[in-house]
Chain length 138, copies 4
Amino acid sequence: MITSELKIRVLYAHTDKMGVVYYGRYFEYYEAGRNEFLRRLGYPYSRIESQDIILPVIHAESNYFAPALYDDEIVLQTMLCDIPTVKIKIYYILKNSKGEKLAEGHTIHSFVNAITRKPMRPPSDFIEIVKSKMDSII
Amino acid sequence: MITSELKIRVLYAHTDKMGVVYYGRYFEYYEAGRNEFLRRLGYPYSRIESQDIILPVIHAESNYFAPALYDDEIVLQTMLCDIPTVKIKIYYILKNSKGEKLAEGHTIHSFVNAITRKPMRPPSDFIEIVKSKMDSII
Amino acid sequence: MITSELKIRVLYAHTDKMGVVYYGRYFEYYEAGRNEFLRRLGYPYSRIESQDIILPVIHAESNYFAPALYDDEIVLQTMLCDIPTVKIKIYYILKNSKGEKLAEGHTIHSFVNAITRKPMRPPSDFIEIVKSKMDSII
Amino acid sequence: MITSELKIRVLYAHTDKMGVVYYGRYFEYYEAGRNEFLRRLGYPYSRIESQDIILPVIHAESNYFAPALYDDEIVLQTMLCDIPTVKIKIYYILKNSKGEKLAEGHTIHSFVNAITRKPMRPPSDFIEIVKSKMDSII
């Protein structure tokens, strides 16, 4: 498993009239987590795109345990457990500043050729970096 | 099963630089679907809230099959298949204006007492309405 | 002046913890208003784009008078007062279902060649349609 | 003038199909800026709220000069120039990582009693802090 951590400040924009973060907003947090994960891995998403490869989401889900509250600095852990094939599965755990688990989720993405729109294998140097960083915190 | 349909115009605000609707935005579409579903059922969400009951999301997921495109008027089907208990599970199918399936998902909500924050059974008149409308398009 | 009207249902997604619509969300409402305005004018934005013309926003502003509330079906009036030159200015008035004014704003857009990124005059058939519909409700 | 700076990573969620940050999203950036501004001032917004005072936006505007691009780490300057009265006016300048100005805007907020909903003067200790930090970078 490779893990990275990102702190996120909860804004008014993220909350709804229940006084807590809106359930759909978590998927933006998850994007922020995987953006930072790939950057720290040394392979930012923009480098994937520069090879005419895109990573559309084909599945996304989240479980909600406790509300994320305004102005809290929440902590998002982003994790990769398996070597990607034509798909990559990324896990997320969100905790509040006291360490309580608020939500967890995962997304599955396809590696897709941006021009032909066909599924493809990930770049070999991406796989190498993933293998070299397995079992580390980045 | 009870089914309702809602048309949604895809705006610039919903799209991302891949030129298609952002994956997290579908969960706002799903909220629009269940808002309209409950209204047509004759039991709008505001009526639930007026009894100090809230319906926080405890699980949300979506599968993405094909991209939703700018300016298309997409069609969202919202469905209830089971009589709610302390939880309610709502299904969503999103199609483009040609009838092609773009995405499907579901959300699970708890009935929660807004004051004590404890899970509770749904109001009995809500269950009655659900039973009376089973197997209809609303 | 050309005026069009659009009804918008206020969702949880639009509100914040103050219990009212988040100030930034109004600019999505305004986009929904001008999207519909151009469609009813007979010149949808996608037709502008199909000529390799884009309309980036160069100025946006809004005044907020009273809060828009959850589940209300608010009414957005979108108005064009002046014949567009290299710029187009669009006005918005948002009222609640009781007719009380909640907000008003405007946006200014440039006509820009999508390839050269240079400012340009609007298509002549667009100007003709605007002139032919002046002083009408569309 | 009091100035603070915040770095923001541009995500897919912020962009639209034009490939740049959506015009309405800048107002979330501006909220992030003033949230951080108040925190660094030593008077976070949550401290204002804890005194049953809210700061609804009564005016917001933005000028857009150049597009903010995906994955760039943009820099948001948030500035207070005048001692607040019953209103507070906050300025924002957004630059890309090369220092080019992308946008500037401002918001005006009322100090409002959260219970009576009437306008009020800001807390005197807030004014004192503002005066003590004038002409500094926080």
